[in-house]
């Protein structure tokens, strides 16, 4: 094809962005979550006794590590418009598989490998049912939530496998020398780099967003919708299994009921972090900030001797508020614009002047 313009006029340049950099960078949902995280942290440092101690950070991160891991693939799944509710059950299943393999005499690395393969297979089952059988992921993963948990509890009964070698359980709870940061965060950092690349820096990620925004248009543009979703479910199962191994070593116990209900914490954090439940929108840094925000809040409240019921109420309210806030701000914006318009028209009628323009440019802080 020639380089000539296909229409009459000469080629022209385009502005890449409609808003200046500082507005694009600052007025985002992700930054709002990050600001809330900093605010909560600072307030807690000054008002909660012992919160400032380095050990608090260590325990906080150890507590949220499993959620952090699973939130990475969950973010991508929710951006495609699907959901995976079975992750906590995969954690339990991988914990049990890891424990029984160890009990059967397998070396730890091999037992970990088996657990992770089981997680990948669990994710593949989800993905297969969603993409090949074309069932809704909500229904599929509610089913496998029960199925995988049932398998986990069935395999080990009500007993637990304990007594993992100290070198391994210490690895799960140790900190990076000279810092209060747990060593497991190195693994998390590596995974984050992979997932940030996958979602925000690869052609695969462009497809993920396109699917969430319009799976039909994505399909018509050569995005392999089904293959992409299948890969994401396998990733989700794999990472959940990894979290299961961590969970087992961290608490030194492989049990069928490990991490029950964890999926809700993951999904809450993903949504709080600015990922749209309808798909097509979100970013990993917002999700990571949201996991840390919920973790910090819970940790600070616990140190302040607030009971766990109240902590649940507070984090629940925060989540509802975060989901409601975009539509609330839009509503306020609309009413404000409209009443401004009414007032302007009334004023114009009064003074018999020419109608005033009713367009107002409201800087919105709930930008997506």
């Amino acid at each position: 094809m020639s380089d000539a313009a296909l229409t009459s006029a000469a080629p022209r340049g385009y502005r890449h962005h409609s808003k200046p950099l500082w507005r694009r960078a600052l007025f985002t949902r992700e930054i709002a979550v990050f600001a809330a995280l900093v605010a909560v942290y600072v307030v807690a440092v000054f008002s909660v006794p012992n919160f400032a101690a380095p050990i608090t950070i260590t325990y906080l991160l150890l507590d949220v590590a499993a959620i952090l891991f699973i939130a990475l693939p969950m973010t991508m799944i929710i951006i495609t418009g699907e959901i995976d509710l079975s992750v906590a059950s995969v954690v339990g299943l991988s914990s049990v598989v890891f424990g029984t393999m160890y009990q059967a005499g397998l070396p730890i690395p091999l037992a970990i490998a088996v657990a992770i393969v089981v997680g990948a297979v669990a994710g593949f089952i989800n993905g297969f049912l969603v993409t090949v059988m074309r069932l809704p992921s909500l229904a599929v993963t509610i089913g496998t939530l029960a199925l995988f948990r049932g398998l986990a509890v069935g395999l080990l009964g009500t007993t637990a496998v304990t007594g993992f070698p100290a070198t391994w359980s210490d690895l799960a709870t140790s900190t990076i020398p000279g810092t209060p940061i747990p060593s497991v965060m190195i693994l998390f950092g590596a995974l984050t780099i992979v997932f940030v690349w996958l979602l925000h820096g690869s052609s695969f990620g462009r497809g993920v967003f396109a699917i969430g925004q319009s799976s039909e248009a994505a399909r018509f543009s050569g995005v392999s919708v089904e293959r992409t979703k299948l890969i994401l479910f396998v990733l989700s199962g794999t990472v959940a299994a990894l979290a299961g191994v961590y969970y087992t070593l961290r608490y030194g116990s492989a049990r069928g009921d490990n991490a029950t209900g964890l999926e809700l914490g993951v999904i809450a954090a993903v949504l709080l972090g600015g990922v749209s439940i309808f798909g097509g929108r979100g970013a990993l840094h917002g999700v990571i900030a949201a996991v840390l925000l919920i973790g910090t809040l819970a940790s600070a409240l616990r140190l302040a001797n607030v009971t766990s019921d109240v902590i649940n109420i507070i984090t629940g309210t925060l989540l509802v508020a975060s989901v409601v806030s975009p539509s609330f701000f839009a509503w306020v914006h609309e009413h404000w614009t409209r009443s401004r318009g009414r007032r302007a028209r009334a004023a114009a009628a009064h003074t018999d002047a020419t109608p005033a323009t009713t367009q107002v440019d409201v800087p919105t802080s709930h930008n997506h």
């Binding site: 340049g13 890449h16 967003f209």
Partner: protein, 508 residues
Amino acid sequence: MSTNSAVKAAQPPALELEGVSKSFGSVAALVSASLRVEHGSIHALIGENGAGKSTVVKIIAGLYQRDGGTFRYRGEEVNFTNTAQSKDSGIAVIYQEPTLFPDISVTENIFMGRQPTKSLGRVNRTLMRAMVVDLFSQLGVKLDPDRPTRGLSIADQQIVEIAKAISLDARVLIMDEPTAALSGVEVDRLFKVARSLRDEGRAILFISHRFDEVFELCDTVTVMRDGEYIATSAIADTTVAQLVRQMVGRDISTLYPKEVAEIGDDVLVVSKLNEPGRFHDVSFTVRAGEIVALAGLVGAGRSEIAQAIFGVDSYESGSVTVNGTQLRKHDPVAAMRLGLALVPEDRRKQGVILESSVARNITLAIRQSLRKYGLLRAQTENAAASEWASRLEVKTSALDATAGTLSGGNQQKVVLAKWLATNPSVLIVDEPTRGIDVGTKSEVHRALSRLAGNGLAVLMISSELPEVLGMADRVLVVHEGRITAELDRAEATAETVMYAATHRSAVA
């Protein structure tokens, strides 16, 4: 014809529209529509796609409000603001594919929302059923009143809708292409019912693309074109040739210049493509530098053919070859790799991603080739997007503006840019200028023409005759899923294309 002149004289016409206009934004759907439907008569409304027939129906049904002109119903001027008002005054619309509640019985569907009751508000099922049996015997049809409507044929579902209309004592029945999905026997039964309703003094407005049916059933015919009233004639006084002339009778101007291009080798070869119920035995070739139009009426199966070729839909048998390589069935990614591109019919659903930015839309299909060391950077995307947006003169405030904020014409340019960026050897465009303004339209035409001039093979689906006749080197006419005619540029006229598009047998 059994139009009763005594009735006519005594009563004002059932429906009378004069100079009705309707615009959507800057697009005028109706300029000046006029229509006069008498009681006790079956009146045909015909015209090309986009002539404004559906808009007329929607105004009569109260779905749209007219911008200007008068609309009288049984002599009185009316302003329906919703469908309930027109229904209550006795107007019923029978659509091509009725929407019934599938899991409840035929009887309950007919009386939905207005069931006769006994004391304490209990539904009087016995009375309801008896009324339905009466209705069916009045219409002369055999249908089980107790069966659920799920699984009824479309013809039977239409009968249920008609029964519902009669039970409401509708004086005017509008049938919007009721026979499109019906078999011969079913059409005969529908016509019998329609005639008996006419003989009871009801007015029927019959919209159809099939001339044979219009001549068999109707008493009067009104032709519309480009949102305007053209002519009304008694069926006995007109001919198919005259109606076709009235439907297309505008000058095919030189607005759509196809540049002279060297026609090269076969690039796209479609052979005996078959998918039951959608299209049958479709074979054709498109050569380099050539624009081939798939003409025909909406619903003839052209988009289905295009989507099967591109691979977003599957087909049962046949083959598609691009540059000598056979395509895998149902695999758009493979089709793209071999140089196939499809600008789909439904721009807002299939073409652009409205929520996504202009840049991301344009680079979506080439995102893999923009990677460097596996990394896809916004800078690279913006550079590519900027280049293609400028070649097609996309008007946008910035590359990160969401595509949904652009006008329809500019959205279409974004879709074109997305596909041209893939450097295709075959470009399929499905209704490339539907719903876009005149200026952008001619820009799209010029772009397509230049592309063909540069050796691209273009397959263009279009329902607009001037576009087909102006742009195409060759015209393939599709009727009910089959290619019924292949016309050279010289042979293709409004009449030959329209004839082939409305008849089962081929002319060529």
